[in-house]
Every structure is written in C-alpha cells, then in structure tokens.
Amino acid sequence: MSIEIDGVNKRFGDFVALENVNVSLPTGQLTALLGPSGGGKSTLLRIIAGLERADTGTVSIEGVDATRMSPRKRNVGFVFQHYAVFKHMTVAKNVAFGLEIRTHGGLRPPWTSRRLRDRERMQARVDELLKLVHLSQFADRLPSQLSGGQRQRMALARALAVQPKVLLLDEPFGALDAKVRKELREWLRRLHDEVPVTTVFVTHDQEEAMEVADEIVVINEGRIEQVGTPDSLYDEPANEFVMGFLGEVTRLGELRLRPHDIEVGLGPDLAGSTPVDVLRVTRVGFEVRLVAGTEEGQEVSVVTTRAHARALDLEEGRRVWLTPSNGTATVPAMKSLRVG
C-alpha cells in the first residue's frame, strides 16, 4: 500500500473536517476521493501533501512515516484546482521549477561542465514532459496566454517533473467547462496508463470518479462511507448515502433502487410486482423517464428505453406493474443511519 492513513482527525475551530479516518490507498493506481463539497475530501488530500497537518493520527507514504514531514520532503506532486501557475515564468520555466530547486550547482560557476550537463538534463526532461502534456509549442509562452485546460496540463507536467512518488490532484478539472473537463478526464486516464504513478484526485462529480478511477473512496461529513472499485460501489453500495451519491435512486415499496433497475410489465405476471399508475412520461434522448404512483400514493421513478416504452405503449394514466430487476443493487429503506 502506498499511502496509509491511520486514525486521522482534523478540526477547523468547531468544524470537524475529518473524524477518525483510516484508509489505505494502493500503489500505482488512480484513486478518487469522492464526496459532496465540505465533506473533508480536500482536507484529507492536503494532509497527505503536508499542506495541512492532522490534529491526531498518522500518514505514511511508501512505508515512510510522513506525519510531521514538511511538504517539500514528502516527494508528492500537487495539482491545485485553480492551477496555481507561477505567473511570471514561462511554461517551460514553470515545469522546470522543481528540477531547478533540486539541482544543486553549489558554488560552481554556470559555465562549468557539471552545470552545463545539469542544464541539458533539465532541458531534456522539460521537453519530454511538455510533449507528454501536448504543450511543446507553448514552451516560451506565459501562463496568461494559455487556456484553462492548457494551464492545468502545465500544472500537471510541473508536478510530474520531480518524479513524485504520489501525485495528488485537488478538484483538478473543477474550474473548467464541461467539454474541456470531459476531454481532460479521458486524457488523465490515458496519461496514468502511460505514467503509472500513484495518483489520488478529489472530485465531487460521481461520473468523473466512475469514469477515471480504479478505486473510489466515498467521503461524507468527515467520515469514509465506503471504499471500492467503481463497479462494486455502484452495484453494492454500503448504505443509502453511497447509493444516492453514485446515481439516481428511487423507492419501490420498502426498497431503494436505481430507476433503470425496475422492470415494467403490463400485467402482474412476475412475483412481487407492484401495480402503479403512470403519472408522467418524459423522453430524454434515447431513454424514457416515467413517474408512477402506487396505490399507497408513493411516487416511483423508472427509466426505460425508448423501444421498450413504445412496445408497452406507455402513456399517462396507464396501469403497469413494476418489479425490481434480478441482481440489482438495492438498499432496504430506513436501514442506513444517515440519509443522503
């Protein structure tokens, strides 16, 4: 395990940001810290980076206790939501920053062969990184001349330059518009496959987490709700909060389940089916959303395909029978402690 977090607590005044957090993040994987805003996920990331200090508990990175280590000694790369570019430096200089800091020329004058070699090596590494993030042609520009997505890629290259053991990204695409966000998301996934450094990123967007991450840690109100692969979280949510946060949820009788996991039939053929009246029908692209009312007055949302809806001739006022599909993720209502 690459990052071990053990019994971490953090308060800001009266506000409890993290409460007894224990989690291990695997080496070489892309992990998402997912949760609503203010849930403590950014605080956890900043504690891993050393930008914030835990009140109690320990953090170890690659087997080294880093709890009291300063951020500059942890060898982690950090990418900020608002890029934190060095405005007065060119793109190449930004990327080279960490390398220049680490290269000790000592008292040797800049024309000695050792210094020249250092500079060549740095130059080569910067070129390589700029190529990796597709910014080679922008090397001599200032960050103010780049778009948001380009700035964030530059920030990523800058963090990768020092070959960190861990790469931490704090809502990396949060400040970008939807289209660029989607592009960068795919690009980050490909980048991680090329450069498999242990990566942890914070997001409040469940779609982003499911699409990019190998593993998701769901954090809410300073506590970890569940840890698992995107599939296992989606299919076997530990509680109502996780289920609700990862996708749409509706109630059918005493069950909570996803609207597309409900089968619609024209008669009570299946065991356990519930008779309902269709109240509203909305077509959204290829899918059809129904709102149906049970005899007890409960409203159930159902998502089905367009073809299926046409075959059943679904329209408002029609009586249908609903059954949970086989093997669907369900959580008995009222069982969980907290409601999302």
Partner: protein, 259 residues
C-alpha cells in the same frame, strides 16, 4: 464638476508650484549659483539623500517583511500591529520627532544614555534622523504590498513548497517576483516622502548647519534669513525630485496592470 475639480487642484497645487518655479528663475540661474556655491546647502542635499536612501532601504526590507507577516500569518495582536503601522500616517511628524527624543535622547531619554555609553549617539545624529524618516515613511511600502499579497493568494507559494522549495527559495523565486511592482511603487513613494521630511527631522536632527541639516531644513533657514532666492532654488530641486518620482510611478503603473 470636472471644471470644479480641475480648478481646485490648480489653485491648491498647480499655481503655487508654478509660481515657485517662476520665482526660482526670476534672475536666471543666479540664485542657483548662489545656493550651490554655499557648502552648507550642498552638504544639506547630500545629508538628505544619504538619510533617505538608508531609510528607504530599511523600510523596504521591513515593509515587505511586515506585509508578509500581516497577510500570511495569524497571530494574536495582528490587528494591533496593523493599526500601529498606520499610526505615522495620522501623527504629526513633529510629534514623532518629540516621541523619539523622549526615548533616545542622550540627556533624558530612556534608551539614550545606555546607547551613548556604548558610543552610539542617536539624537542630533544620523541614526536618529534615519529612524525618524523610517517612522514617517513606514506605512508606504507595507500598504502597497499588502493588497497585492492578498490578491495573489498563497496558492503559488504552496505549489512551490510542494515542489520542494524551502522558505528562502519560495520568497526569492515566487513571492518577490510577484510583488515586485508593488515594492518598486512603495519604494518610490517612500523615497519622495523621505526626501521631503521636515517636522520630525527638525526636532531630531537639532538642525545643525553643515552637519545634520537636511535640504528642507535649509529651505526654511534661508527663507527666514531673507535669502529667498536660495530657498527657492533648493525648493526647486526638491520639487524636481518629486516630479521625477511621480513620473517613475506613472511609468510603472501600466506595467503593473498588464502583468
């Protein structure tokens, strides 16, 4: 409204300054000749420049340091410190001079006698004059730098630290370049303020002709001794320096907004 504002500035600032320049050159360059052949005048100008440069240098270092302290750190008494920094703005320089006398005077000050016992004469000497000038110009650098530091935030500094930079490297490579223009602006303003300081220096320097007398003090003395031509000539030099300072600042301003 625009006319009113223009008229106000003209009658308050423009006309008096123009008249001063006219008077200076009323007899051509002769009053200049007179003034600058007087060793006391040239010495006073040198003293002014020397004291101002020292004061500006000290204020720049402490001004940037104080600004960083005020913006980047939380500590008890922070608001009190901030209020103290603004104090020189609202205090009469004469009062500042008297206050310094009370503490550092060799005869009756609290600190003066022990310092003089170690050979450091503060009052009626350069250290006291530099202190007085620092005091009056203290807020200028701080108040220029603080808003810029607040605006840039500490993201860049955190990023630099996470990339392995230590405190000195963060300051030198990230913070200082980011606040560069604010510092320059503050330096120019404090230079202008320091060169023209009169009240505090009059008390603290003792106004010893040829020794601790500064240019503004010479102006007053010459004027009182009916050597008005020379007073105008020295005044003109002081005005010229102020105008140059304003020019430098206005040349720097657009750069600041572009970056």
């Amino acid at each position: 409204m625009r006319l009113l504002a223009l008229a106000y500035v003209f009658f308050l600032v423009g006309w008096p300054v123009i008249t001063l320049v006219q008077r200076t050159f009323a007899d051509g360059w002769s009053s200049f000749g007179q003034a600058f052949s007087d060793p006391d005048v040239t010495h006073a100008l040198l003293v002014t420049v020397e004291i101002s440069l020292w004061a500006v240098a000290i204020n720049t270092v402490f001004g940037v340091g104080l600004a960083l302290l005020l913006v980047r750190y939380e500590f008890p008494g922070k608001r009190l410190l901030s209020a103290f920094i603004d104090l020189p703005m609202s205090m009469s320089p004469v009062v500042i001079g008297l206050a310094l006398m009370l503490v550092y005077s060799g005869r009756y000050g609290w600190f003066g006698p022990p310092l003089e016992a170690h050979g450091l004469v503060v009052i009626f000497n350069s250290p006291g004059m530099i202190m007085a000038t620092c005091f009056v110009a203290l807020p200028l650098v701080v108040r220029e730098v603080v808003p810029v530091l607040e605006e840039i935030g500490d993201d860049q500094e955190q990023a630099a630290r996470s990339l392995g930079a230590n405190a000195v490297q963060v300051l030198r490579r990230i913070t200082l370049p980011a606040i560069k223009w604010a510092v320059v602006y503050g330096v120019v303003l404090s230079l202008a303020r320091s060169l023209g300081e009169f009240g505090a220096l009059k008390i603290v320097s003792g106004n010893l002709t040829g020794q601790t007398q500064t240019a503004p003090l010479v102006v007053e003395q010459k004027y009182n001794n009916f050597a008005q031509g020379e007073a105008y000539a020295v005044s003109f030099v002081l005005v010229l320096i102020s105008v140059l300072c304003i020019l430098v600042v206005s040349l720097l301003r657009p750069k600041e907004s572009r970056s």
